[in-house]
Amino acid sequence: MTDATAMLTTNDGQPLKAALARSQRRARRNALLLVAPLFLFVLITFVIPIGQMLSQSVYNNNFSVAAPNLGAWFDDHPQGSEIDETAFAALVADLQYMKEEKLSGSAGTRINYDISGSRSLFTGSARKVDDLTPPYAISVPALDEKWTDPNLWRAMRSASSPLTGDFYLAALDLTRDEAGVIVQVEPRQRVYKMLFGRTLMLSALITGICLVLAFPIAHLLATLPLAKSNLLMILVLLPFWTSLLVRTTSWIVLLQQQGVVNSLLVSLGIIGDDGRIQMIYNQMGTIIAMTHILLPFMVLPLYSVMRPIPPSYVRAARSLGASSWTAFRRIYLPQTVPGMAAGALLVFILSVGYYITPALVGGADGQLISNLIAFHMQKSLNWSLAAALAGLLLFGVLVLYWLYDKLVGIDNLKLG
């Protein structure tokens, strides 16, 4: 008999806790070793790139390293100071430095994000910097009139500190005016907020359509005898085994104005030959193709939730006096909520970041925010803005997760 208050020991006198830890050490080490490859993989391919991206969105030192003298001048002279001879002298010194270090291109690109045409201004001026003579307040504007633009000086001031929130402002269609106050950009240039809104709206719509289409399929899958449901399951999974590009281009074949669907409608006399419907290269194309591609992600979680619901629940409800609709609504539907929520979350998050399908079939008004991120990554090379847009998207998804956890509970998530 052991005294309950004394520390428990093994029968040869060692503390029980130490003995337990030793006896499990081997198993624990093996478990860690097994997890290690995946942990490293996730760290290298997921955590580090996303960290890089997020830092890129608030940190850009292309201008600040190329213009140390201007940086010092901005530190000494607060916003609104007159752009005097000392400022132009610092500018000329920095242009000199850029010429020597071949930094005028990257510095100009950074300012170009805010003021278009700045890149050529920087590269051109740096090339001719040796011709400049004091007083620089006269000679520099003589070289190029743009150097007197207060907006340019404001942009240089904000770019001279590498840490900046300007990219997030830009991603939300905001900018700073000459006095440094945050204002909306001109209505003509407001694209991002509208695109975020469209992305969320289309994603919600696609999620809704997927839910409506997937629910009966999943129910059928869950209630059919196994042999038949396996066949149906293969049909549901078939899209997974086909290339995304093939599926998307086959929608082009079907939906384009001279395509299968339109020709069928014309030959049936439902529409005239001149009334062919534009079903692709617009929002409709994006919605149809993405719904098709994302449907399995809704079917599978729903199926996995429905399969274990025994038919006796609905039977019990019927025998207790509920009509078939009441039994469905009060008994069956509530039990599928974890599957619906998991499927909706999955489809929504996937479609918020979807890129290739809208790019192929979206036309102009079917583009989503991810297409603009790709544009800034590949065409305009404004990686910081792309990172800021992606950061906002990531933040939105995290908010969604949080909401899901509050409403349904993350431990209720059933993905398959």
Binding site: P310, S312, Y313, R318, S319, L320, G321, S323
Partner: protein, 367 residues
């Protein structure tokens, strides 16, 4: 046992047939009349059609032919939720997303009862099964026996005309099962319920029922009170299905109204009660319950035919001895004798004379 005598069929199956595939009949010409307040059990092996009958009564399956009447009204076309039948399912089917109280309240809600009335009825039903403190628990937090009680209370809370139970005790362990049998029986008697109970457990059927319908091959083989079923089986299937049973094949030698002399295949003659044999010379299977076999001459009726037996094995089972013997060429003949003070101990290899009362040996159809 007054209920069994009522002629007015509260529930009536009238020439009911059921086929799922149009090729084979699962239920073949079922005729059954259940009286009000009766506890009727449908007993049979799996695939015998008993559950199908219950599902047709509940309305989850439609009868292919024939009529099912409840309280004189044909219910073939009445959907399940309008039949007013309470049902207890094998896996309880308690709604997992609702508390116990909500589960019980559900049938009252869909019937449009007011809140206070619902609460009163739920409380009464929970008290009835001694689960009054559990209204706010979830079904998953209850043990199997507690879930069973809740399922029972839910089936009764809306005062149904008829209660169906589909193997409700199948998932419980033996002790709990016996306790619940008693509980269900008590509720049946206190509330005057009409119960149709499906099981494949003959012990359950014998202890609880007013009458038992033994199903096999889509037909009722015998419909009788438990006592009759056990002691006076109508045919070989029933004799074999209910309880343990010794079978001796033979031919009818002499036949009168209440007595038959059967010549066994090995030549011995035994006295029997004829049940479904009609003629001399007919093949028959004689059925004798192991506990009715005697080996002491003073326990046998005078003039009874005895038969030679060789003891093969004696198993001590506590309250009884189970003796396996070689009788008339069959080495599976079993005799059960009570473990009383001074009981004669048999040993393997011993030769004895065994006999029985002619009433206990029943000449049935050859299987």
């Amino acid at each position: 046992m007054t209920a069994t005598e009522t002629d007015d069929g509260f529930v009536e199956f009238d020439h009911v047939q059921k086929s799922y595939d149009g090729e084979t009949l699962v239920v073949k010409d079922l005729n059954l009349s259940i009286g009000k307040g009766e506890f009727l059990t449908m007993l049979g092996p799996s695939g015998s059609g008993k559950t199908t009958c219950l599902m047709m009564l509940a309305g989850f399956e439609t009868a292919t032919n024939g009529a099912i009447r409840l309280d004189g009204q044909n219910i073939n076309e009445v959907p399940p939720h309008k039949r007013g039948i309470g049902m207890v399912f094998q896996n309880y089917a308690l709604f997992p997303h609702m508390s116990v109280g909500e589960n019980l309240s559900f049938p009252l809600e869909v019937r449009g009862f007011g809140k206070s009335e619902r609460e009163a009825k739920v409380r009464r039903a929970l008290d009835m099964v001694q689960m009054g403190d559990f209204a706010f628990r979830r079904p998953a937090q209850l043990s199997g026996g507690q879930q069973q009680r809740i399922a029972l209370a839910r089936a009764l809370v809306f005062d149904p005309k008829l209660v169906l139970m589909d193997e409700p005790l199948g998932a419980l362990d033996k002790q709990l099962r016996e306790h619940m049998q008693f509980e269900i029986k008590r509720l049946h008697e206190n509330l005057g319920l009409t119960v149709v109970y499906v099981t494949h457990d003959q012990g359950e059927a014998l202890t609880m029922s007013d009458r038992v319908a033994v199903f096999n091959d889509g037909r009722i083989q015998q419909l009788a009170p438990p006592e009759d079923l056990y002691e006076r089986p109508d045919n070989s299937f029933v004799a074999q299905f209910i309880g343990e049973n010794n079978k001796l094949p033979g031919t009818v030698e002499e036949l009168s109204a209440d007595k038959a002399l059967v010549k066994l295949d090995t030549g011995e003659l035994i006295d029997c009660t004829p049940v479904n044999v009609a003629d001399r010379g007919q093949r028959t299977l004689v059925s004798i319950r192991p506990e009715r076999v005697e080996f002491k001459p003073e326990m046998m009726p005078p003039g009874a035919h005895t038969i030679q037996a060789e003891v093969l094995e004696v198993i001590y089972m506590g309250d009884i001895f189970r003796t396996r013997m070689l009788v008339a060429g069959s080495d599976e003949f079993v005799m059960k004798s009570r473990n009383t003070l001074g009981q004669t101990k048999l040993v393997p290899g011993q030769h004895i004379q065994i006999g029985w009362h002619p009433q206990d040996a029943r000449a049935l159809d050859p299987l």
